[in-house]
């Protein structure tokens, strides 16, 4: 992450901040892996992968709690300002999104388990193409966002944002397709619903990836771009100098 000047005069502060960054990176990496593994479990009907995702979910929750507690302690004891303050805030916001992305991975993994139990029959073949595309996009955007958080690189925010839009469009298209399936073959109603939930999870992962990227923008420049679209009418926000 961006590191202005030398370290802090007070070394323990440096230690606590870099510990926070390292742990956020660890958690981010694991969440990105969870997304990838869950997607693999789904696409390749890999039971083991799905079970792995479910096993690792607890770790993510633990890390989130720990990182937030550490951020809280840092705020109380070091009273960070400027880039340090933004780092702590961005990280504690990012871990919330990461944890939720982890939850979504868990849901996808459950769906994959259920799917493989049912066998390759049913609508999954029909649904396979949109699922695959969305899964790849979601996984890719989460990977990019997590890397951006680690490097403090705001330049990829646009990339993540573009991926998110693509995911959203893909989601719309897949929903229409599924609607057709449901209307034509009502016996597929249950798997269709389940697929919709999986798709929704992937769409949410895309959103969370986008949020993480926005936290990175805040971390680097201090600009809050979360609701930039909605607030376009308001006075122009100060961004970079």
């Amino acid at each position: 992450m961006n590191e202005p000047g030398e370290g802090h005069t007070f070394k323990a502060y440096d230690g606590a901040l870099s510990e926070l960054r390292v742990r956020a990176h660890q958690m981010g990496t694991l969440v990105a892996q969870q997304v990838e593994t869950a997607v693999r479990a789904l696409l390749e009907s890999d039971r083991e992968a799905a079970e792995l995702v479910l096993r690792r979910e607890q770790q993510i929750n633990t890390w989130q709690t720990e990182i937030e507690a550490e951020s809280f302690r840092l705020l109380a004891r070091q009273a960070p300002v400027a880039s340090d303050l933004r780092t702590v805030l961005a990280i504690s916001r990012a871990v919330t999104d990461l944890e939720r992305a982890g939850d979504e991975s868990k849901k996808i993994a459950r769906f994959a388990l259920a799917n493989s139990a049912r066998g390759a029959a049913g609508p999954s073949r029909v649904m396979h193409r949109p699922l695959r595309h969305m899964a790849e996009l979601a996984s890719e955007s989460m990977r990019v966002a997590v890397n951006a958080l680690d490097r403090g690189d705001a330049s990829v925010a646009h990339e993540v944002s573009r991926l998110d839009r693509e995911i959203d469009q893909e989601f719309e298209a897949a929903l229409r397709q599924l609607m057709t399936v449901a209307m034509e073959r009502s016996r597929f109603l249950k798997p269709v619903f389940e697929t919709v939930f999986a798709l929704k999870s992937l769409e949410r992962i895309g959103d969370h990836a986008k949020n993480v990227a926005e936290h990175v923008v805040f971390l680097v420049s201090g600009a809050d771009v979360r609701h930039a679209g909605a607030a376009r009418g308001a006075p122009a926000e100060q961004t970079q100098h």
Binding site: T9, A79, V81, A82, L85, S221, Q238
Partner: protein
Amino acid sequence: MQTRSGAPESTSRQAPQRLAGGAGPSVPRPAIDAARAAEPVEQVTVKARAENLSFYYGTVQALKGLSIEMREKRVTALIGPSGCGKTTFLRCFNRMHDLTPGTRYEGRIMLYPDDFNLIAKGVDPIEVRMRIGMVFQKPNPFPKSIFENVAYGLRVRGLRSSARVEEEVEKALRRAAIWDEVKDRLDNSGLSLSGGQQQRLCIARALATNPEILLFDEPTSALDPIATARIEELIAELRDQVTVIIVTHNMQQAARVSDYTAFMYLGELIEFDNTSKLFTNPSKKATEDYITGRYG
């Protein structure tokens, strides 16, 4: 000695510059901070303006061409490492340096609305000090009664009517939020008070003369946290009554009490901005390093 930059004083009589809506002349307007953004238009008047101010102790140059504005009825904090010249700068405003032989000012410090260059040759420092009050680092009440401490400035100004003096003393003590604590013992020595009370007494003493600008030179560096909090609260209350310039070593204090913050380093002004902006997202790397504690 004085360099007269810009127009001669006599011809530059003009109304105080309004900064609202960008009407002011080439003023770098900091982003309006969130708390004030709700107000429709922020009306900020410039109370004082240092223009290319340099200051010398003998041959040592302590201030190197500072230019900065102090906004009326706002709190401006001066921060920076020891020896950066912030106290030197503060003491230019009431010509305190004139007490030390061999000091020299260059440039101008304009006081508005009357366009008065307070460091111009021929301007009597006493006249300046009649208009600008100061509170010092360590509480320094006179070893006189509490009443006489506050009354002294009035007496120097020739106020003789004891009824008027009493009225003004009470007003000042109330403004300094110490009236309730001392009203029953106005005849006790100012030195009988606690450190924090002494400092509020000193603030009352400075307020009694209704200064246009009140200078604070690290006013809480000798006080405990609770006394410090009371002084900070007091400064916050004074915000709408008087223009305040405060030097502080405590960056959290600057962040808490000020509207604007100036970061100085080695006798130069590095950054001046809205306090919220400066403490969340400073523009200059030197400022960032200093306020985050990376100053080597």
